[in-house]
């Protein structure tokens, strides 16, 4: 019965790796500055917020909720931390914790609207995004907050690895934990179950409302961490921070094989590699001196291709 074991399925499984490898090959040929320690590390380090927000949105997508407020939640977290450090001389750790707590709280509010009050998830989270951005604008008077005191965090590097930024380990660690939670715990399996078919999940005795709420709150918390990371990488809080990250993150998650309908997806390779694909396309094009206006265009094309592959995969799975 083991015939046909090597089939399309396997190719699909590695499709994200293949795409990432192709991007590396193309840009390495295109420019000798692409495949250097410095570029690879910087791209991943500066892309840390995107990687984390992709993980966050993956939690919401897994239970079938499209959360559009992820970018704004990250922004709120970073903004609060920045204000606390700049205006109140708060200890850095405390300021970051406050930021993460704020984002987690916003995640909880989302969950109340979406899960308890059964309001439309996409519009609730879009409203939340608008509200957060507006409040932040009022509080910061639309001004940039510079944070020079954080530069030591940005510069902490491991020499032995050619200047590996230490904070990048935090990103890897979070991806790893998310992955273990999803693949190896009952909670992770329940996330998939709720996303796959809520009625069946309820029927087997899963508290579906609690699982969905938990997913949205965790989504907020990770956005909070992403926000702190963003403040560190940038060294300042700007009003346009993390704008339209929700769409980039959702695109990255879907590139990684996460279903928009819920019930299917992964953090590693899924969301992680998905985010790297988008990051390295931008980095490679910048290095090769291609117009920055072309970057969204190429990203768009890549998303179309990924969606086509995804539909093929889905067909192969359901029909065969």
């Amino acid at each position: 019965m083991k015939t046909n074991k090597f089939k399309l399925d396997n190719i699909f499984q590695y499709s994200t790796y293949i795409v990432l490898a192709l991007i590396f090959i193309v840009f390495t040929i295109g420019s000798d500055k692409f495949l250097t320690h410095k570029n690879v590390y910087t791209t991943m380090f500066n892309g840390g917020p995107l990687i984390l927000i992709t993980c966050a949105v993956t939690f919401s997508l897994l239970v079938g909720v499209i959360d559009l407020s992820v970018g704004a939640m990250g922004y709120a977290s970073g903004c609060l931390a920045g204000i606390l450090i700049k205006n109140y001389d708060a200890p850095i750790v405390l300021a970051f914790l406050a930021g993460i707590a704020l984002a987690t709280f916003i995640g909880w509010i989302n969950s109340v609207f979406i899960v308890k009050l059964k309001m439309n998830a996409m519009l609730v989270s879009m409203g939340m995004m608008l509200i957060i951005r507006a409040i932040a604008k009022i509080i910061t008077h639309d001004k940039t907050i510079s944070l020079f005191s954080l530069s030591f965090l940005r510069q902490a590097k491991i020499k032995a690895l050619g200047g590996f930024p230490i904070l990048l380990l935090v990103v890897f660690f979070i991806v790893l934990v998310c992955n273990i939670v999803l693949k190896q715990t009952p909670f992770g399996r329940k996330l998939l179950a709720v996303g796959s078919n809520e009625t069946v999940a309820k029927n087997v005795g899963i508290n579906t409302d609690r699982i969905k709420s938990a997913a949205l709150i965790i989504c907020g918390a990770i956005c909070g961490i992403a926000g702190c990371f963003w403040v560190i990488t940038l060294g300042s809080v700007v009003v346009t921070g993390l704008v339209s990250y929700e769409f980039l993150a959702i695109a990255a998650a879907v590139l990684g094989g996460t279903s928009l309908l819920g019930g299917r997806g992964s953090f590693y390779p899924g969301s992680f590699i998905g985010a790297l694909i988008l990051l390295f396309i931008a980095s490679g094009m910048a290095i090769m001196g291609i117009s920055p206006y072309a970057i969204p265009f190429v990203r768009g094309v890549i998303i179309f291709i990924a969606m086509y592959v995804d539909s093929l995969r889905h067909k192969a799975m359901m029909l065969a």
Binding site: K5, T185, P186, F187, R189, A193, N197, G205
Partner: protein, 514 residues
């Protein structure tokens, strides 16, 4: 009509990853004949139909010959052009459109007025009336489809097949959702079509229907043809033998157990509409049947009792440590399993694996203490054990459930509840859409478990099945409890008595009101 030689299928094979769904099947269908295609779930009937309908492509070497020409049915469109029409099990209609629009939905372009962009509605209606008349069915063509009965929608579906110029009609379980009356009507129509020279394929799990309708049967088992015979030359035993190779005997239920401990007591259970004021006791190890006509509130009773529908009034007591204590829905659900009726809507996680489905009812058991890491190996081992117990036919436990046949999916659901090992298992139509062999296996499994002290509450529309299975049956009509019959007194009359009485009562009330 041009001269048509019969439809020939030669050496049809179909390979799915890991499974040979059809293996060198050949047979011929004749004009003006109803050919029955029988076999257990997963035998390859649906695969065969999907190949004819152009939804699947057979392996190399397979040959389909229509009108003496070898044809390749690349997609449903080609099938349509060849005059093959598929009448599916689930009635598929556009609910928001009218009857005539539904009938002609497959090719609106043909009905444009003189090549203008406008539809020629008059001609369309004329055409549809013609086809409906062939079917002896006189529905107004302007009726919105959502107001039709299931039977009428089926007629619309058949009319659609005829309007496409179908000469080869494939009926896949056409009576599954029809009432008795509608079934009789459908049979008349099929007989009528037979005399008009159509080639008709007929698939059904109901052997009685096969004997009533078909001229000839072809039996499939595990993808191979295991028999072919004119219906007049075989009997039921012979047919079942062709289908499953051996006869799975159902064990006779031993004497009803003595009425020892009551495990569940429901009192005055009342929902929003149904049920109304129902009380009953359930004993340990008992198999309690709930019987009533369609729409009598059987499923509603389960849903209300288990807290999925709102309970307006009533108390539920559960036996905990030898004492009957009042219990709320949530705590009760810890002790029960609930096999629901609609398999696809609320039975399985279609896009998850067999193992993931089976362990979903009690995940925490596989998690380590403390941080709770799942033990995947143990999960798979346990799943394999249950798959073997209930005889799930699959490559392995990692197979995606959507690839399994209906009967096997049902077995996965049953495994899921067996794994939870509840005190009480509620089953709504446990064998619906399941073949003869699997039916007997499921029944034996229920007996076996009840011996071990598990109590069952079973809803089934099949009178024979419920009488075979249960120790006691409560009868429900219009949401009320109207009768209770013990195993020794089982008979159709005894069960119907309560229902008849209830109906008379309602009529009398109406008369009084009038």
């Amino acid at each position: 009509m041009e001269k048509k030689s019969p439809l020939q299928l030669k050496n049809i094979s179909m390979t799915f990853p890991g499974v040979k769904a059809l293996n060198n099947v050949s047979f011929t269908a004749h004009q003006g004949e109803v050919l029955g295609l029988v076999g257990v779930n997963g035998a390859g009937k649906s695969t065969m139909m999907n190949i004819l309908g152009g939804l699947l492509q057979p392996d190399k070497g397979s040959e389909i010959i229509i009108n003496g020409e070898s044809v390749k049915i690349k997609n449903p469109r080609v099938a349509e052009d060849l005059g093959i029409a598929f009448i599916q099990q689930e009635v598929a209609a556009f609910e928001t459109m009218n009857v005539y629009e539904n009938v002609l939905a497959s090719d609106f372009d043909k009905w444009r007025k003189n090549r203008s962009p406008f539809l020629n509605k008059k001609a369309m209606k004329e055409e549809v009336r013609k086809h409906l008349a062939t079917l002896d069915c006189y529905i107004d063509v302007d009726t919105p489809t959502h107001s039709l009965t299931v039977g009428e929608k089926q007629m619309v579906q058949i009319a659609r097949a005829l309007s496409q110029g179908g000469q080869i009609l494939l009926f896949d379980e056409p009576t599954a959702s029809l009432s008795d009356h509608e079934t009789q009507k459908l049979f008349e129509i099929i007989n009528n079509l037979r005399t008009q020279g159509y080639i008709i394929f007929y698939i059904s799990h109901y052997l009685d229907e096969i004997f009533e309708m078909c001229d000839r049967v072809v039996a499939l088992r595990d993808g191979q043809k295991t028999g072919e015979a004119p219906i007049s030359e075989i009997n039921k035993e012979k047919l079942v033998d062709m289908m499953i190779g051996h006869f799975v005997e159902t064990t006779e239920r031993k004497n009803s157990r003595d009425k020892d401990d009551i495990i569940l007591r429901a009192e005055n259970i009342t929902g929003v509409k149904f049920p109304r004021n129902i009380s009953f006791d359930l004993h340990k190890g008992e198999i309690l049947g709930v019987w009533g006509l369609l729409g009598s509130g059987r499923s509603e009773l389960f849903n209300t009792l288990l807290g999925f529908d709102k309970m307006v009034e009533g108390t539920i007591s559960f036996n905990q440590n030898g004492e009957l204590c009042e219990i709320n829905h949530k705590d009760l659900y810890q002790h029960v399993g609930y096999l629901t009726e609609g398999r696809h809507h609320n039975g399985v996680f279609l896009d998850m694996t067999i193992a993931e489905n089976i362990t979903s009812s009690d995940l925490d058991r596989f998690a380590s203490k403390g941080i709770g890491i799942l033990n995947n190996r143990k999960e798979k081992e346990e799943s394999r054990k249950y798959m073997k117990q209930v005889n799930v036919k699959a490559v392995d436990e990692n197979m995606i459930v959507s690839k399994l046949s209906g009967g096997n999916q049902q077995k996965v659901i049953i495994s899921k509840w067996m794994l939870k090992d509840p005190d009480i298992l509620f089953m709504d139509e446990p064998t619906k859409g399941v073949d003869v062999g699997a039916k007997a296996e499921i029944q034996n499994l229920i007996f076996d478990r009840s011996e071990k002290g598990v109590s069952f509450v079973v809803v089934s529309s099949e009178l024979e099945e419920i009488m075979n299975l249960c120790d006691r049956i409560i009868v429900i009509a219009e949401g009320k409890l109207v009768g209770e019959v013990n195993r020794d007194d089982f008979s159709k009359e005894a069960l119907m008595a309560g229902i008849v009485k209830q109906e008379e009562k309602v009529e009398n009330e109406q008369v009084q009101v009038g």
